[in-house]
C-alpha cells in the first residue's frame, strides 16, 4: 500500500495498468477458466471425510429384514392408487395407523399462473399423508423426515412400499431419540411446498393448505426417496436445492459411507466414480460430473423433493434408485438397511449438521472442492472488472446525470416488463414468447433515448456510463457468486468479456453479434445444449429450442410456485446490466 500512497509510483502503476490492460484482462480470463477446469483434477481436490463426530465414530448395525414385504406393500399401494385414480388417502391412513404411527392428512390446492405443460397441470388439488413415529421418552422437540412422492402412473410405488416397511420396522425399535415423520406427498414439489409451509406456518407463495394437526418439533434432517423398480443397480444422490442451496456435506458423506459399508453402487449426477484420474478420459469424466453439478446449481431449481427443505435450514437430500443394465443388482432389503443405517446415525446427532461445508462442488462422491478452492476462479474473472474500473480516466468532467441515468432507468424498466408475472395470456408458449418478445424489443429501445433528452452523446458520457455499468456488474456478480457460485461464475464467463471490450468505437455489426451471443438469453440457450451434451443426451436444434422455451416457462413457474430467485435476478438485474453495455455500443 506504500506503493499507492506515493503519487509518483501510483501514477506509474496506473499508466502501466492502462497500457497493459488488454493483456492483463486476457491473462486473468484464461487463468480463471484454467483454475476452474483444474478443480476437477483429482490431486487438486480434497477427499471427503466425516466432520460430525456424532455420526463418525459410533457403530450402528443394520438389520432391516423386510424388503419383500415392503415390495408387496408397494404393489398393494399401486393397486389402490389405480382404483382411486390418485393418492389412496384412506388406505394410507389405515396402513400407517396399523403400523402404530400417529397419522395426519393435509389438503392443499394451488392454481398455477399458467398451465404447466411438462407435468400437465393447472389446477392442482391434493392431499399429503404423514405419520409420526413418536420416539419414546422424547419431548417432541426434534424430528427427522423420510418422504416419498406419490407420482401418477406406475412410478415410485416401491418407494412408498419401502417407506411403509421402514415405518413398521422402526416402530418396534427402542433407540429412537427423535420423532420420525413418514410423509407421502402428492404432486411432488407442490405437495412438499404445501407441507413445509404448513409445518412452519409460513406462506411465501400464496398456496392454500389446511393447517397441520401434528408436529414433531424442529426438523433436523430429511431424505426423499425415489424408487421405481424392485431391484436397483445403483443409488443416485441429488443435492442441489432451491436457489442453488446445498445440504451440509456431511449428509453426502453419510450416504457415501453407508454405500461403501453395505456395498451398494452409488453415483452423483448419475456418474459412477472412476479410479483412473490420471488418464484423459478419467479427468474428463470428473469434469463432466462437476459441470453437471454447476449447471444444476446455477439453474436454481430444486432437483428433487428435498430441495425445498433447505430454505428452512433442514439438511436434506434425495436418493434415487436407478435400474440400468448393469450386472450388479441390489434388492429392496439392502436399500432398507442403508436407510436404516442413515437414520440411526442421524438419530444420534446431538446438534444440527453444521460441522462440514455448506458451499462445495463435487467432481465425484469421494472428492469435493470447497469454497476456498473454487472462489479464486471467480476472483480472477472479477479482477478484470477491477482493472477496468481502475483504468477509467480519473479526471472526468461530469457529463450530466441525466445522460447516464436515462439508460439505467430505461433498461431496468425493460427488465421489470420481462419479470412481471401477470401476463395477459394464459398459455405456456404465449407466456414464454411474450417474455422473449419483450426481451428482444428491449434491444431496440434504450440506445437512442438519451439523445432525445440530453442531445448528442459525448465522449465523456459513454465513459461514465461504462464506469457505472462495470461497477454495477462487479457488485451484481460478486453478490450472486457468494450465494450461488455456479450461477455467478457462468454469468461472469459471458458478461465479463462484454464489459471488457465494449466501446462505441469498435466495429458495430461484429460487436453487436458478439454481444447478442453473450447475452443472458443466449447463455441460457447454450447452457441447455451443453447440459444435454453433458448428460450424454444430445438434442437437435429444434428440440433444443423447444427445451429452451420450456426452461424459461419452468423458471417462471419455479419463481411463482417455490420462490426461486433466478428468473427475477436475470430479468431485473442481469438483463438490464447487459442492456447498458448494448447502449454503450450504440452510443452516438
Amino acid at each position: 500500500m506504500g506503493l499507492l500512497s506515493d503519487p509518483n509510483r501510483r501514477r506509474a502503476l496506473i499508466s502501466l495498468l492502462t497500457r497493459l490492460n488488454a493483456p492483463i484482462c486476457v491473462v486473468c480470463y484464461m487463468a480463471g477458466v484454467a483454475w476452474f477446469m483444474g478443480l476437477a483434477f483429482e490431486p487438486f481436490t480434497l477427499r471427503t471425510y466425516m466432520s460430525e463426530n456424532a455420526m463418525g465414530s459410533t457403530m450402528v448395525e443394520e438389520r432391516f429384514p423386510a424388503g419383500e414385504r415392503a415390495l408387496a406393500t408397494g404393489r398393494e399401494f399401486s393397486a389402490h392408487k389405480k382404483k382411486v385414480g390418485g393418492m389412496p388417502v384412506d388406505w394410507l391412513v389405515k396402513t400407517m395407523q396399523a403400523r402404530g404411527l400417529e397419522v395426519f392428512t393435509q389438503r392443499f390446492s394451488r392454481t398455477l399462473p399458467f398451465p404447466d405443460e411438462n407435468k400437465e397441470r393447472y389446477l392442482v388439488k391434493g392431499t399429503n399423508v404423514y405419520g409420526i413415529l413418536r420416539a419414546p421418552r422424547a419431548p417432541r422437540t426434534e424430528a427427522l423426515v423420510l418422504s416419498a412422492p406419490c407420482t401418477p402412473g406406475d412410478n415410485n410405488n416401491q418407494a412408498v412400499g419401502l417407506l411403509l416397511g421402514l415405518a413398521q420396522y422402526f416402530r418396534n425399535q427402542v433407540y429412537w431419540a427423535k420423532d420420525i415423520i413418514f410423509l407421502v406427498n402428492e404432486h411432488d414439489l407442490i405437495g412438499m411446498q404445501a407441507w413445509l409451509e404448513g409445518y412452519h406456518h409460513t406462506n411465501t407463495t400464496g398456496m392454500d393448505w389446511s393447517p397441520l394437526q401434528g408436529r414433531g418439533g424442529s426438523i433436523q434432517a430429511a431424505l426423499s426417496l425415489e424408487l421405481s423398480s424392485d431391484v436397483i443397480t445403483s443409488l443416485d444422490l441429488v443435492l442441489e436445492g432451491l436457489n442453488g442451496q446445498l445440504p451440509n456435506l456431511d449428509l453426502a458423506n453419510l450416504f457415501y459411507a453407508f454405500c461403501q459399508k453395505i456395498g451398494v453402487l452409488c453415483t452423483i449426477q448419475g456418474k459412477l466414480q472412476r479410479n483412473d484420474w490420471d488418464s484423459v478420459s478419467g479427468y474428463s469424466h470428473s469434469v463432466q460430473t462437476m459441470m453437471l453439478m454447476v449447471m444444476k446449481q446455477a439453474s436454481g431449481r430444486p432437483w428433487g423433493d428435498h430441495g425445498l427443505f433447505l430454505r428452512y435450514h433442514i439438511e436434506a437430500a434425495t436418493i434415487k434408485g436407478i435400474n440400468s443394465f448393469r450386472q450388479y443388482k441390489s434388492d429392496t432389503t439392502t436399500i432398507g438397511r442403508l436407510l436404516e443405517g442413515m437414520y440411526r446415525k442421524l438419530n444420534n446427532l446431538l446438534e444440527r449438521l453444521h460441522q462440514s461445508y455448506f458451499f462445495y462442488l463435487m467432481p465425484s462422491l469421494s472428492h469435493f472442492v470447497s469454497i476456498g478452492y473454487y472462489m479464486p476462479a471467480f476472483g480472477l474473472l472479477a479482477v478484470i472488472l477491477l482493472t477496468l474500473i481502475k483504468s477509467a480516466p480519473s479526471q472526468m468532467s461530469s457529463p450530466g446525470v441525466l445522460s447516464v441515468l436515462t439508460p439505467l432507468v430505461i433498461s431496468h424498466l425493460t427488465g421489470v416488463e420481462v419479470a412481471v408475472e401477470h401476463f395477459p395470456v394464459s398459455e405456456t408458449e404465449a407466456v414464454v414468447l411474450t417474455a422473449i418478445a419483450i426481451y428482444t424489443a428491449g434491444l431496440a429501445l434504450p440506445h437512442n433515448t438519451h439523445r432525445l433528452l440530453s442531445g448528442e452523446g459525448t465522449e465523456q458520457g459513454w465513459k461514465v456510463l461504462k464506469l457505472v455499468a462495470v461497477l454495477y456488474l462487479a457488485v451484481l456478480l460478486g453478490c450472486t457468486a457468494l450465494i450461488n457460485f455456479s450461477l455467478g461464475f457462468i454469468l461472469a464467463l459471458t458478461l465479463v468479456p462484454v464489459a471488457a471490450f465494449v466501446t462505441p468505437h469498435v466495429p458495430k455489426i461484429l460487436s453487436a453479434f458478439i454481444l447478442v451471443i453473450l447475452s443472458p438469453a443466449c447463455t441460457l440457450l447454450f447452457s441447455v445444449f451443453f447440459f444435454q451434451e453433458l448428460q450424454e443426451m444430445p438434442v437437435s436444434f429444434i428440440d433444443g429450442w423447444m427445451l429452451f422455451l420450456s426452461v424459461i416457462s419452468q423458471g417462471i413457474l419455479d419463481h411463482s410456485l417455490y420462490g426461486s430467485l433466478v428468473y427475477p435476478l436475470i430479468a431485473l438485474l442481469v438483463y438490464p446490466c447487459w442492456l447498458l453495455f448494448w447502449n454503450i455500443l450504440f452510443w452516438k
Partner: protein
C-alpha cells in the same frame, strides 16, 4: 354390574386428639401414616398407564423452630428443607417424555417434559429470592438433578396459574416461585434418591416394582414429589403435612400384526408382588375397568370381587381393587402377577389439549403459535395460559393475537411482565374463553437475540429450549358429580380441589420448543481471528488511508534568503521568485 364399596376407607379423616369426631376408631391412630397405591389404566391407544402414589401424612408443625427432630415415616431430608426454608408448599417433578394427551387422555398428575419446580413460601420469609436460590441448590443435591441451573433468568412469579393446593389462603404471588428446566434429562440417578424417600425404600410393598431398567424402557416416565399442608379433620382446626410421591409411567404395548396382546406385572416391571409395605396402613392396586364393564375389551386375572367407583377428571371410573394387606390377594402361590389381555380398542378425544410450535424460517425472527383445543360439543370454558419465554427470544408483544374460529378472541385478563436481558424471562399469563368445539390460536412474534460468545451452551447448534406453556382450566365434567362419593375416593382422584361440582380442574402442558439462535462457528476461532486481524490491519487501515487523504508532491521549503526576497518582492508588487 355388581359394585362393592370397599370397606377400608381412607384414614385421612380420623383424628385421635379430638374426641368429638364421630369416626369410630377402635385402634389409636398413629401420628404419622403411610399409604401406597398403584393404578393401572389400559389406555385407548393400547398402551398401559401405571401410576404409583405414596402418601405420608404427619401431624406436626415444622414452623415451630427446630423442635422437630424425631422422624419416623417422613423423610428427614425433606423435613429439614421445609423447616429451614419456611416452605409452605413444594411441588417438584421430573419427566422424561411428553404426555400424549390426544392418545392417552388426561394423566392423573400432569407434568411438563424436563424438571418443574414450584414453591409457595411462608409469608414470614423476607428474602424470597435468596431463599429460593438456596432451596434449589439443596434440592439439586437431594434429587441429584441440575436444579442449580434455576436462576433469575428462568424463574417467574405466576399471578394466577399456580394457586396453593393445600390449605391456607395466601394468594400474594410474591411468595410463589415457578421454574422449569426443559432440557433436564431424567434417569436412574434421579430415581434412586426418590426411592430412598419412601419408608420401605424399594425393599417391600409396591416399590419393589420400581426397577429402573424397566421404568426407563417405556414411552413416558414422570416422577414427582408434592409437599403441602392439609387438614387433619373435617373441622380443619389443625393441619398436618402431606408428602405425596408419585411416579407415572406408560408402557408401549405395540406389537404389530398380532390380534392378541397381553401384559402382566411381571412383563411390565420384571417383578411380582409378594407383600405390602409393612409400614403402610393401606396398600392397594386399582385397575381401571370402566371401559370394560362386561369384559369385552380386556380381561383381568386373577379376578377380584372388590370394585370401587371414583370421580376422576370429571369422569366416573370403576376400578377393580386388590388389597395387598390381605393375604388372600396373593393366592396360593404367594405372589401377585396381574395379567391383562386386550381384545379391542377405540379412541376418545380429550376435552382440552394444547399444542405449540415455532413458525417461520431464518434466524432473525419467528412466531410462537400456541393452539388450545376445546373438544366439548356445546360448552365453552375459560382457560389460564401461562407462558414463560427466555429473554433471548425478544417477544414483540404488540403482535400478540388470540383468535378462535377465525375471529378475534379478546382475553379477559392479561398479565405481562417484559423480560430484562440476562436477568429475567418474559412472563405472559392470560385468561381466555374457549368457545365450544374450537381451536384457539395464540400467536406472538419474536426476534432471536445474538448472545455473547460465552453465553452459548456447550452444544449451541442443538438449539435453545423454551419451556412448556401451562394451560390450567376448570373443564366441564363429562358426568354429573356424585356428592356422596367423597369418602371412598382413591388418592389419585382427590388431588386438585374442585370448587364447581360440575367441572374438574385440569392442567395441560404443551411441548417445549427447541429454537435455533444465530450461532457463530466456534470450530474455527483461530481462522476467524487471523482473518479479521488481517483484514483490519492491512485491508481496512491502508484503504482508509488512501481514501481519506489526498497526496500531493510537496516542494522542499525555500531557504531563508529566498523567503526574505519574496516578502520584499511581494511588497513591491512583483511576482515572487
Amino acid at each position: 354390574m355388581k359394585v362393592h364399596i370397599s370397606a377400608t376407607g381412607i384414614h385421612m379423616e380420623a383424628d385421635t386428639s379430638t374426641p368429638e369426631t364421630a369416626v369410630p376408631s377402635s385402634v389409636p391412630q398413629p401420628k404419622d401414616d403411610f399409604q401406597e397405591e398403584l393404578v393401572i389404566r389400559p389406555l385407548h391407544s393400547g398402551d398401559i398407564y401405571a401410576s404409583f402414589q405414596f402418601r405420608t401424612l404427619w401431624e406436626t408443625d415444622f414452623m415451630r423452630g427446630n423442635k422437630v427432630s424425631h422422624y419416623r415415616l417422613f423423610p428427614k431430608s425433606l423435613g429439614q428443607v421445609i423447616s429451614k426454608f419456611s416452605v409452605r408448599e413444594l411441588h417438584i417433578s421430573f419427566t422424561q417424555g411428553y404426555w400424549r394427551t390426544m392418545q392417552w387422555g388426561q394423566p392423573f398428575l400432569p407434568s411438563p417434559p424436563g424438571a418443574e419446580l414450584w414453591v409457595w413460601f411462608q409469608d414470614s420469609v423476607t428474602d424470597v429470592d435468596g431463599t429460593w436460590k438456596e432451596l434449589t441448590n439443596v434440592l439439586s443435591g437431594i434429587f441429584c438433578a441440575s436444579l442449580n441451573f434455576i436462576d433469575s433468568t428462568n424463574t417467574v412469579q405466576p399471578s394466577a396459574s399456580f394457586k396453593p393446593l393445600g390449605i391456607g389462603n395466601v394468594t400474594d404471588h410474591s411468595f410463589l416461585r415457578y421454574a422449569t428446566l426443559p432440557r433436564e434429562i431424567v434417569c436412574t440417578e434421579n430415581l434412586t434418591p426418590w426411592k430412598k424417600l419412601l419408608p420401605c425404600g424399594s425393599k417391600a410393598g409396591l416399590a419393589v416394582l420400581l426397577k429402573s431398567e424397566k421404568l426407563f424402557h417405556s414411552s413416558f416416565h414422570s416422577q414427582a414429589v408434592h409437599i403441602r399442608p392439609v387438614c387433619q379433620d373435617w373441622q380443619c382446626k389443625t393441619t398436618s403435612w402431606e408428602l405425596r410421591q408419585t411416579l407415572n409411567v406408560v408402557f408401549d404395548l405395540h406389537t404389530p400384526g398380532q390380534g392378541k396382546r397381553e401384559w402382566s406385572l411381571f412383563k411390565m416391571f420384571s417383578r411380582t408382588l409378594t407383600e405390602a409395605c409393612p409400614l403402610a396402613s393401606s396398600s392397594k392396586i386399582y385397575i381401571d375397568i370402566t371401559d370394560n364393564p362386561q369384559g369385552e375389551q380386556f380381561e383381568v386375572s386373577p379376578a377380584t370381587p372388590l370394585l370401587s367407583q371414583a370421580m376422576v377428571l370429571g369422569d366416573r371410573r370403576t376400578f377393580s381393587v386388590y388389597d395387598l394387606t390381605q393375604q388372600i390377594t396373593f393366592g396360593t402361590v404367594r405372589s401377585l402377577n396381574l395379567l391383562i389381555r386386550w381384545k379391542s380398542r377405540d379412541m376418545l378425544r380429550p376435552l382440552l389439549h394444547g399444542e405449540r410450535y415455532v413458525a417461520g424460517y431464518g434466524l432473525q425472527t419467528g412466531e410462537i403459535h400456541t393452539l388450545m383445543y376445546n373438544n366439548h360439543p356445546y360448552r365453552s370454558f375459560p382457560v389460564l395460559l401461562l407462558d414463560s419465554v427466555p429473554w433471548y427470544l425478544r417477544l414483540y408483544i404488540h403482535t400478540l393475537t388470540v383468535a378462535s374460529k377465525g375471529k378475534d378472541n379478546k382475553p379477559s385478563y392479561i398479565h405481562y411482565q417484559p423480560s430484562k436481558d440476562r436477568v429475567r424471562p418474559h412472563l405472559l399469563e392470560m385468561l381466555v374463553q374457549l368457545p365450544p368445539n374450537s381451536v384457539t390460536e395464540v400467536t406472538v412474534q419474536f426476534e432471536r437475540a445474538l448472545l455473547k460468545w460465552t453465553e452459548y451452551t456447550p452444544d449451541p447448534n442443538h438449539g435453545f429450549y423454551v419451556g412448556s406453556s401451562v394451560i390450567s382450566s376448570l373443564v366441564p365434567s363429562i358426568v354429573a358429580m356424585d356428592t356422596n362419593s367423597t369418602r371412598e375416593q382413591p388418592l389419585f382422584s382427590s388431588f386438585f380441589p374442585c370448587k364447581e361440582e360440575s367441572s374438574y380442574f385440569v392442567r395441560v402442558y404443551t411441548e417445549p420448543l427447541l429454537v435455533n439462535l444465530p450461532t457463530p462457528d466456534f470450530s474455527m476461532p483461530y481462522n476467524v481471528i487471523c482473518l479479521t486481524c488481517t483484514v483490519v490491519a492491512v485491508g481496512y487501515g491502508s484503504l482508509y488511508n488512501l481514501l481519506t487523504r489526498s497526496f500531493q508532491i510537496d516542494e522542499p521549503s525555500p531557504g531563508l534568503a529566498k523567503r526574505i526576497a519574496n516578502i520584499i518582492r511581494k511588497m513591491r508588487g512583483v511576482p515572487p521568485l
